[in-house]
Structure formats: C-alpha cells, structure tokens
Amino acid sequence: MNDSPLSVYQDLVPPMTDLQASAEANRCLFCYDAACTRACPTSIDIPGFIRGIATGNLTGAATTIFAENILGGTCGRVCPTETLCEQACVRTTAEDRPVAIGRLQRYATDAMITSGRQPFERAPATGKTVAVVGAGPAGLSCAHRLALLGHQVSLYDAKPKAGGLNEYGLAAYKMADDFAAREVAFVLGIGGITLYPEHRLGHEITLDGLRQTHDAVFLAIGLGGNNRLSIPGEDLSGVEDATAFIERLRQSPPSAPPAVPETVVVIGGGNTAIDAAIQAKRLGAAEVTLVYRRGREQMKATGWEQELALTSGVILRTFAEPRRMDGDGHVQTITFERTTLSDGRLTGTGSTLTLPADLVLKAVGQTLLTGALAGIAVQGGKIVVDDAAQTSIPGVYAGGDCIASGEDLTVQAVEDGKRAAHAIDATLRLSALTAA
C-alpha cells in the first residue's frame, strides 16, 4: 500500500494565492544592500521585486527578476533557497522564518509568463552571430542575453526538446504543468534565437564548424556522463542511472507514468539521489531506501531536501558503501559494507548489510564528456575558463555545469550564461570597432 497519495507530477509547493503573496510581500523589510540579494548567485534585486508585489506592480516585479535571471521561474521553484537568499533573510533573526522569497519569485514570474508578454525589447541588430551549444539553463540564459543585446543566436541541443536539466533532470513535482517547456517558449519569445534540436556536438555539429560559421561559440554542454560504481553486478538489469530514470519519468505523460517495482534502492547523497528516491516513492514503490556512504552532514543534498525525503517516506541509510549486486539476470539484492569516518577519511568496517532491491538507481555524480571538445583545456573534470568565461580556444566560451564556477545549481548556470553573454558582447563590439 502506497502511503504517499501525491502524484509525482503534482506541485510539491503550490503557487501562492494573491492573499498569501500580499501578506508575505509585506513581511519584507526592504533592506538596503540586502543580504538576500548578496546571497543570490544572479544578484536579483529581491527587495525591489517584492516591493513591486506589495504595491501591486506585478509587471515591474517580474521585470526586476528577469533583468538578472531570465529563468527566474525555474529558480523560484527549484533553488535551494534555504541555503541561499532565504538563509540570509534578516527576518530569520527575530522570527525563525524568512520571507518566502522563492515562492514570491514564482508568483511574480508566473504572472508574466502566463500573460504571454515579454519584459524586454531587443537592442538594434549587431550583425554578429553566436552559436550556443546546449539549451539548458546556462545556454538559455546566454542565448537570451545575447539576443537582448542584438546578436543573432543559433541554439543547439542534443535532445529533442530544449531546457536541459529543467526539461529532463529536475524532479517532476518541482516543474509541474510542463513548466520547463512553457519557460523555454517564454525565453525564445524575445526573438533572434534559432533552436536546432537533436544537434549533437561531434555528430551533427562540430566545434570547428561552429567556429567557422559564427563569431563566437558558447559551450553549455553540462555533464553528459554518469559515474560508475565499478562493483560486481552493476550491469544486471534493474540497475539504472538515476538521471536516466528521472528523464524517463519526466518524458512520460502524467496519465501514463513509468511503473516502479516494490523495492527501490538509491545510491548517492546529492539532490539527484533525493529527487530519484522521492519520485520513486510517489510513483508507488512500497519501500525506497536511499543509501549514502557518509553521514547526513556530508550529504550534498540540503537539510530541507533530506527532510523532504524523510517526510515522503524514504528510508535514509548512511555510512554504507555498495560492494556488490546479485541476481539472476535481474538485480535482487545489493550488499553494502558499513563505513566509518575517522579524521575525515572513510574506511570500511568489514561488517556488511544486504538489502533486497528490484530497482537500483545510481546517483554518484556526473562527468564531463570531452570527446567533441577538440582539445580544449580541461582540469579536474571541468572546462577551464578565464575571468571572461573564455576557454583555452579564443572565441570559445563556456559556462554551466561543464565549468567549475560554483555549485552545480540552475541559478549558477543562469549566472554563468549571463556573464558569458556580456563577455562575448564586449569582445564582439570591440572587434566591430577595430574592423571599422
């Protein structure tokens, strides 16, 4: 019996009503040089947009958000606000409850996206063209800003749909009602961006080719590979990358969600692991166990995400590292060795734990696929960029999860794309001046 009645496709946090938004907006103290804005990777003027909500200037509020973060709609839904803006909110000092910035942001941005209006007009055409590879958050952000600044953008993506992880990777309950697709339509609505889906770097397009046909190239290719556990039994059927599982359920219509078996084990300690576990539970799995080799404090998933997993009925097991999986063609059990941390080092204790599993989801990190990067400098599994977001190849820029700019968050990717767009714009304008 599934004790979680909520559909995986149902909004985890419902949109605010007008009354809720008005009451919450009036809690904002309109701080100067506000801590929340400083904590936002995209530096949204948070008190500014909240004042717009409070005064009934919803268009102005949304415009303020989109000026810094064109994917403010997604970020309002998925940002770990508990570690960013809301953690910094000064209201917490006296009341232990920050202003609900994320939900207010969603309230304001949803209003404009639903209205079908555009917040900005493009600058006069520059005659310059830029290729953006990857239509995820970094690529969309960069493409939009470049188009805004008057450039013509070719936006390529390997997948049939644009959106990247917003479309294929985030939890369904955070992106209800096909929001990723609606947001992509909003972003492309500025004009000047031509989308080329199912164009893979190294197949339909190449870096060299793009450099020849465009004035600049922005790589926002994300992390296309998944880490392996490299343990016996990993290739049994019923063992799957968590990202593939999430993609499968995100692409299923809510009327026909993918089936999950009774017993699911998720390996990992990041938000992908949490997302996979909660979604498996909401899809009807009787028992979902998330196993992490270290403790809860070491998990990359925020405390809020961990709590959400627990209240969703997910069993959290820590200090156990997978050693083998067994089954007759299909996985039946997974065996862990218990671990301990001493002086920061993880060591096995020799004691083991075996759990039944009909489905094992691996969420132990993703990797950069370098095959089509034509020798671009890579360090620590990330593309190397300078302060202007430029790679080791002149005219080729990069941002998002494929570079080491900060945490691998949607909001960071948006900032990377925006900053790269301005760097590209400055270079192209300078070259235009030099040419003239």
Partner: protein, 427 residues
C-alpha cells in the same frame, strides 16, 4: 511604456516624482544621490535669511503600526541651518550638472516685501527652475512670524505671492498649510496673488506621542517637547481631500497642483494625479526606505498607465475630479449590500461583531461543517462597508450594488428634505 514626463507651472521633469523640501533635499550630496536614484526633481530645503537657524537635537517622532511600520513622522526641524551662500552655490552647481531634472527652491522670509525680494533675486541667480514659497511650516518658524503664520492668513498669502511674482521671471509655486479651516481660502489667495501652481499639503500640527516615563511629548529635547509637523501615509487622506477641493472649486480649478502628503507608492501618486495633481512630492517614504523606492514608483505608474491604455500622464490628471461631488449630490436611491465569499472566509467573526455591536445587526452566524458560517441579511444591511474594511482577507467581503429600481434622487430633491427643490434641476 507610458511617457511619464511631467510639467508643472512650466517646470519640466522626466517623471512626476519630486522630493519635497525637507531633510532629504538639504544639500547637494543628497540631491545628487536622489537624481542618481531616478527622482524627476527636488524642492531644495527651505532657504531663509542669514544668519541660519539653529536646530535642536532629537527632531523626529514616529507613529507606527503594531509591526513597526511607520504610519507618520512628526518633525520639529526648522528650515536649512546652513549659510545661505553655501546653499546657493550648491544649487547653481547641481542645476548645471543635472539640467534635465527639476530643481525648485523653497524659501521663506518675514512678512516684509524687501526680505522676500532679496531672497528671490539671489535664488534666481542660481539658474534654478522655480520657487516654492514655504507658507506652511507649523513649528518654530511660525512663532517668528513665518511659515504657517503667513499661510493661515489669506491676505498675507496673496501679498507674499504678489511680491514674489513681481520680483521674478521664475515660476512660483505656493505651498499651502493644512492647518486651516478651509483650504480654498488660501488656495484662492495664492491664485489672486499670481501663483503659477500650488503645492499641498505641508505638515499637520501634531504631538505624535507622549513619553510616559519622561511625561513629555516626543521627540523630547532635554525633558521638554513641542508640537511638530506630521507627515507620512497617515496624512494622505487629508491631503487628497484638499487637492480635490482645489480641483473642483471653479475659481481654482485648473491651477497646476504639486500633490504632497504621505505618497509612498505609485498607487498613491496615481490617486493624487487623478484628483488633479500634475506631479507629486515625496518625503516620508524616502526617509523610511531610502531613495530607491522611486524605482517601483516609476515602473508601477508606467505599467498602470499602460494597463489603462494611457500613453502619458495627461489623461490621468484630474480624471477622478468629476466624480467628487458634495454630499447633497449623491444618489440616495443607490443601494449596495455586503456579500461574504464563503470560500475566502477564515472564520474570525470580526465582521459579525462589529456589525452587531456598532452597526446594523445584519450579519448572521450559523453552524457550518466544522466552522461557523457568516451571512449578510440583505434586508438589514445598509451597505455601510464596515465589515468589508475590518475583514482581514482582501476581497472576502465585497459590496455589490443592487439593480436600480428607481431613478437617481439627491437630498436636494428628497421628499424628507424640508428645503427640497421642487422645480426641476437645471443642468
């Protein structure tokens, strides 16, 4: 985006949001910061004759709601306490550096023509865009025969305005005090004197609170307090009425008005403009949050005009004036009834108890599923609105007009009016 450009008495500014003559406009540093933040204009803090006044320590008192939001500020600060020459030099420089922003200079002097004329000539030499005569300061200066001591006597208002108009080519805005019985007397006097515009309201005479330990009014200066000038959101209704009175009074109708009084948001500004103001001045909101509040004011007003299909301020100016009438001209056959949205009701019971205790006993309580249900008995409801105002949920209680069953009837012709007009009304 609608065009927010504004003209008052020939003085142009890129938007209608000016900072009022007050501490925020005391010196070049603040004024430049205001321009940088986006304010369309400023009225420089009132200049007087040298030697400069001396201010006291502790100058503001505040009236707050229970969540420490400022509803009103009371101040006992006087006019600029800096040497006249310093102010004049700064004004000249700022105007030179910011030619497209409005820079109006406030001034006050004794009730002597020569004193006013001398000040006016000095200010005119700065290149400022206009003058605002401070005939309203209700503390300190009035005890020396200036400010509201002049503004409260229509003849003096007229004389001062005429002296200044005769002495200058600059547009002259006369700033009016609300501490009078009828704003029209001073507004008409200003017009007779030749004023190009009026600005209102100045601050309201007030004691904002009493320190019950010191047993003295606040702000307290060495154990004593004094009445001061009250401003901020709490005075907005007083100001709106006075603006409307000037707009609909035949003699003063059409005179450009710079609206002042508790304007904190674009919506407040729109209301003043709808009642006939050509532009607005702000002080308390800036003193509460800083200059950046103007960003939402500009964006909000522009978006509002867009939403109404107005491409400039022009169609908004005075748009509500025709609907401000005397009580006697209201339709007594109109009826509206409160309706409670049961889905929005949170079961607090306040509508019931205020109606029961203090109004017309029209809201009934019945038992619902796990909660009380409040319903309005239309036969008892007089449409007073009290319940809709005390309801903590916006739009939960709405007033819904009943279909008209009889032609409009005003008190002027009402059968119960012993002095009713019997002849047909002439239009």
């Amino acid at each position: 985006m609608a065009d927010l450009r504004c003209t008052i008495a020939g003085i142009r500014s890129p938007n209608p949001f000016w900072l009022a003559s007050a501490p925020p406009t005391d010196k070049a540093l603040n004024v430049v910061r205001a321009y940088q933040a986006g304010w369309g204009g400023v009225v420089w803090k009132t200049l007087g004759e040298d030697p400069p006044v001396v201010n006291v320590s502790s100058r503001y008192g505040a009236h707050m709601d229970t969540e420490r939001r400022i509803l009103g500020i009371n101040n006992i600060e006087l006019i600029s306490d800096r040497p006249l020459e310093v102010n004049l030099q700064e004004i000249a420089q700022v105007k030179k550096d910011w030619p497209e922003r409005a820079l109006v200079v406030s001034l006050m002097a004794r009730m002597e023509e020569s004193a006013w004329v001398e000040l006016v000539r000095k200010i005119e030499a700065t290149g400022a865009d206009g003058l605002e005569l401070n005939l309203g300061c209700p503390h300190g200066m009035c005890e020396r025969g200036m400010g509201s001591a002049i503004g409260q006597v229509p003849e003096m208002v007229e004389n001062v305005t005429r002296w200044v108009k005769n002495a200058t080519r600059m547009p002259v805005i006369v700033k009016l005090t609300p501490n009078i019985t009828n704003i029209l007397w001073s507004a008409e006097a200003a017009k007779r004197g030749g004023a190009d515009a009026v600005a209102l309201i100045n601050t309201v005479n007030s004691i904002v609170s009493v320190d019950l330990d010191a047993m003295a009014p606040t702000p307290t200066v060495d154990g004593k307090g004094t009445h001061g000038g009250y401003c901020g959101p709490a005075v907005k209704p007083i100001a709106l009425n006075m603006v409307a009175e000037i707009s609909r009074n035949p003699f003063t109708a059409g005179i450009p008005i710079s609206g002042i009084g508790g304007i904190s948001t674009w919506r407040d500004a729109a209301e003043f403009i709808a009642l006939g103001a050509h532009g607005v001045q702000v002080c308390t909101a800036a003193m509460t949050y800083g200059f950046r509040i103007v960003e939402d004011m500009i964006s909000g007003l522009s978006n509002f005009l867009d939403s109404k299909g107005m491409d400039s301020l022009e169609p908004l100016i005075g748009a509500a004036v025709k609907n401000v009438v005397n009580w006697n001209d209201l339709n007594m056959n109109f009826s509206t009834k409160a309706v409670i949205d049961q889905d929005a009701c949170i079961d607090c019971g306040r509508c019931h108890i205020v109606c029961e205790d203090t109004s017309h006993q029209a809201i009934r309580i019945s038992a619902g599923e796990g909660r009380r249900v409040f319903t309005v008995e239309p036969d008892d409801c007089v449409g007073c609105n009290l319940c809709s105002h005390v309801c903590p949920v916006p739009s939960c209680i709405t007033m819904q007009p009943e279909p008209a069953t009889q032609p409009p009837l005003t008190w002027t012709r009402h059968p119960q009016n012993p002095f009713r007009q019997t002849a047909p009304e002439t239009v």
